[in-house]
Point group: C2
Chain length 120, copies 2
Amino acid sequence: MSELAFQDQGAVKHCHGCGADNDRGLQVKSFWDGDEAVASWRAQPHHCGGTKDNLNGGIIASLIDCHSLNLAIAQAYRSEQRRIGSAPRIGYVTASINVSYLKPAPIRELIELRARINVA
Amino acid sequence: MSELAFQDQGAVKHCHGCGADNDRGLQVKSFWDGDEAVASWRAQPHHCGGTKDNLNGGIIASLIDCHSLNLAIAQAYRSEQRRIGSAPRIGYVTASINVSYLKPAPIRELIELRARINVA
């Protein structure tokens, strides 16, 4: 893994999903693990969904969004053999998100996010 | 419109997206407007996305999720001519969500959510 999270190297520090300076946000921290990105994240009780024991689906979508988008940006820098955040800056936005909720996500367990890029 | 929001009639008061008692959540409030559900929602600055001027995509997904799910529940009670939250309780969960982000959503503007049920 890199020493610094993708989000701590880039310019976007305010994002609700992953901004390091957003103390009311989710603060996702993503790292390289080979060609994949991994993140570990721990919920707070107010992140619950339909039951207090399970993580909210919107939060799950937010985690996936910010983790995956930061992977896309990190990959773009990596493919140019450049440090994340170096000039000229590379920025992407999410065009669409599609999440299937396969089973409840227990809120007290550490969440592991793992993403990889599939080029169509 | 009904006097009480769907979320204020049901049993789920803790949900991050729509729970009335979750003071760190989004507190979506949905109402009937004919056969549609409408909600007005105002963001706080920490709900921003890639820029501070625009709403975070995960928050948008959360709003759509909780607004739509509450419409599904409200419709189920309505079809049985029962008050939301009356026994026996009706509860649904979101199986999947698919959001296309067509253009930036300015964070300072009042967000209007409008949903209707399409039965396949």
